[in-house]
């Protein structure tokens, strides 16, 4: 039995879940980045706002700095309730005018550059460790104009990062909640979709399970176009099975019948022989019993050989077989028996052919065909066996013909002759009736065509045509 690969449902769920997880992780990651940036920007603005308010209240009068910091600047900072804040206001010589005197990493070069360029001051943001904590600073310059001089002051405001972190965490957590919800809803929807899509397969399985083992009529189910071929294959297979099964039934019934009839004959002949007093007649009757027994043996042998062949088909791979050699050998084996029937076998053809096939089966085929030909040949006639190469429509094939000079087979019987146990109504020769059907099966197993033709003036030609294909080689 074929090993079941991973279920489609599980694969689908796995893939869907993987894709979803990847999407969600990417979404979360972007949300996290966004949250950090948003928090950073909004709190940077507060910091900048505070610095601007301080700058607003720094003035110069008679070269004296006049600094009156507004409460609002500190109230702006106090919006981050749990953060420390530090500030410093310096003159152009970096002397601290008010505020913290030891702020770290002040970007003097940049401030000085902005100062010397006489452009508008732009805020410089930077982070530094101060008093044991990471602090985000903004440095801003302000140009103070007097009649005869220009003085720059620098405002540095910094704040610790707690509020930023809290804000970023809050946004991230909201994103996490949303993404989690989204994940589960999508997963549920997709699971439903998967269930819905796989429903027809389930239905087919259900339909098959519910059937009785004998019921082999086609399945009727409405399935999507993707599943339809499967259903078609199942139905085709079931039709095949039905066919095989009925053939087997018929074969079994026929076989039983074929064996019972000779047995019954044997029985009555033996009875007669027992009752017979005339020694000459009894001898004759015993002869009949022997003949009937031979027929029966033959039939049983054929049945067995067919069973063997059927088994071989399934278990033996092909190998190169020398067809001419097998044919000659078979003829040689049968020639003695033929002579007893006062029939000659003549092998024609001088080619050597090798095909890919089953030697045993091919021999059985030849044997059956030649025996059949001999059986139906009148005494003193010749059965011709010929192996030849035929070129036809640019296709080269090997043709095997077995010709007899018997009465032949009427056209209406030709199509039935391969059926098991078929015996022509006008046929009086002894025979099992399955020899040719076995031969045909072997031929078909080797992809060969099996034909019946009429011989001239009378008789039957059995023709087996092996098509050209890989493995076939010959030489004249």
């Amino acid at each position: 039995m074929a090993k079941a690969t991973t279920s489609i449902r599980r694969q689908l769920i796995l893939m869907v879940a993987t894709v979803l997880i990847v999407i969600n992780v990417v979404a979360l990651w972007s949300a996290h980045i966004y949250a950090n940036r948003a928090a950073k920007e909004s709190y940077d603005r507060l910091l900048y706002g505070s610095a601007l308010q301080m700058a607003e209240n720094i003035n110069i009068l008679d070269s004296q700095f006049f600094i009156d910091l507004p409460v609002s600047a500190f109230e702006t900072l106090a919006l981050s309730t749990s953060d420390r804040a530090f500030y410093s206001i310096m003159n152009g010589q970096y002397q601290v005018l008010t505020g913290y005197k030891d702020l770290p990493n002040i970007p003097f070069t940049q401030l000085l550059q902005q100062s010397s360029e006489k452009e508008k001051f732009i805020p410089i943001y930077y982070e530094a460790m101060y008093r044991g904590e990471t602090v985000r600073f903004v440095a801003l310059g302000k140009r103070l104009l007097e009649a005869d001089s220009v003085n720059d002051v620098f405002i540095i405001v910094g704040q610790t990062l707690d509020a930023r972190r809290a804000a970023a965490t809050e946004i991230s957590q909201m994103a996490l909640q949303f993404v989690t919800l989204f994940f589960f809803i999508t997963l549920l929807l997709l699971l439903f979709v998967i269930w819905r899509v796989l429903q027809p397969l389930q239905a087919i399985k259900q339909a098959i399970t519910e059937r009785s083992p004998q019921e082999l009529s086609p399945l009727e189910a409405n399935v999507p176009s993707e599943i339809a071929p499967l259903l078609k294959s199942i139905n085709y297979f079931m039709a095949q099975l039905d066919n095989t099964l009925s053939r087997l039934k018929r074969f079994t019934a026929e076989a039983a019948h074929q064996i019972r009839t000779p047995l019954a004959g044997l029985n009555s002949q033996a009875q007669n022989a027992l009752d017979e007093t005339d020694e000459v007649l009894r001898q004759k009757q015993l002869q009949h019993i022997l003949e009937s027994s031979n027929v029966l043996t033959n039939t049983v042998n054929q049945l067995l050989s067919r069973a063997t062949l059927t088994h071989r088909y399934q278990s033996h791979p092909f190998s190169p077989v020398s067809l001419d050699h097998v044919t000659k050998e078979t003829c040689r084996e049968l020639v003695v028996w033929a002579l007893e029937q006062q029939v000659e076998i003549e092998y024609l053809g001088d080619i050597q052919v090798t095909i890919n096939g089953d030697e045993f089966a091919l021999k059985q085929m030849l044997q059956n065909i030649i025996e059949n030909a001999i059986k139906y040949s009148p005494k003193g006639s010749v059965v011709e066996v010929e192996l030849m190469v035929m070129d036809e429509l640019s296709e080269t094939s090997v043709v095997l013909q077995i010709r007899d000079q018997g009465i032949g087979v009427p056209d209406q019987d030709k199509e039935h002759i391969f059926e098991y146990f078929y015996r022509s109504p006008d046929n009086f020769a002894s025979g099992s009736g399955i020899g040719l059907s076995i031969a045909k099966e072997v031929a078909e197993h080797h992809d060969a065509r099996f034909h019946l033709k009429d011989n001239q003036p009378t008789g039957l030609i059995v023709e087996v045509i092996f098509p050209q294909r890989k493995g076939l080689s010959y030489e004249s």
């Binding site: 910091l69 309730t81 953060d83 420390r84 804040a85 008010t98």
Partner: protein
Amino acid sequence: MKVSYVLGLCLILVSRMVFADAVQQTTYITFPSLNKPPKYQEDVLAIYGAINHQAISPLFKAYQEKYPNVAIHYTESNTRHLYEQFISQPNVRPDVMLSPAMDLQFKLANDGYALAYDSPELSNVPKDSHWRNELFGFTYEPIVTALNSDILAGEALPLSREQLLNLIRSKNHLLDDKIGLFDIQQSGLGYLAWAYDGQQSRSYGRLLEAFGTHQARLYTDTSSMLNALLKGQIFIAYNLVGAYSYQWSQKYAWIKTIMPTDYTTIIMRTAFIPRDAQQPTLAKRFIDLLLSPEGQHILANQSGITPISTKVKGPYSRDELSKLPHGIFRPIPLGLELLIQTDDAKKQLIYHEWDNAMFTVPNDSSALP
């Protein structure tokens, strides 16, 4: 003057040491542990505070009842002096620092001197009464005006700053040298209250002018100002801590305490544990007690200081406070806003204004209407 000299002598007897500078009196008091004799080496909890030791001692007692093996060394001084000592002597820092000068306390916390402590008792007090789990507000005290009713001479009690100005104008020279103020350059609390007035009120400038014209006397602490009021050295004391003033009003009927009805400034006394405290665990227990319903109850009932908690009952509870006539309560926010009060430039501006008003001898009385 003689009286204050005698008082000074008494303080020498009580304390082990008094600074030569009369302005910065520092009192050291030891509360020995309750274990007598101590079975093993006793622990010492060092506290710096600007709270009158009589007011805070019930709390110490309660603490020692819980932890009988702990002795408390209490150093009482003026707020600015405590701050400066804290900064200048990093080797002898206390375990707990208590002060009503919110700006100075905040500055220390902001500058990273405070130890973060997530006290379980924080749930008992309002959310805005602590900052970063480092600085804990534990009282809720109005800044009041006290006056000797003798000066009224039958006139109505001035309830607002405007009415106070009118009174000063009408009494004119009677009040020369008779108005008491905190010396904002010496007292942290005085500076805080005065600077906050500057942010709040339009009457600030006129008050300063009136105080200057009448050569207001300057004091460094509430007690000496109240003493002066009691003895008739001054008639009006502006921006006092409510708790002490109310106590005196109860004792001496002629001393009236007023919460100005235009607005009433509210300050919080704050506590923090310095990062380099010797006994952080003992200090944390003290903070827990301070904020606990028990500690808050002691403040409202025994110390005579209004506690921060709104749930506590007692003669000095917030409930009782709000029953007295008052203006809009304006609590000074415990946050970064306080940094402005510590800004040097701002301080120089305020000192400059103050000095101009106080130390300029008025050329004539016509300056007053």
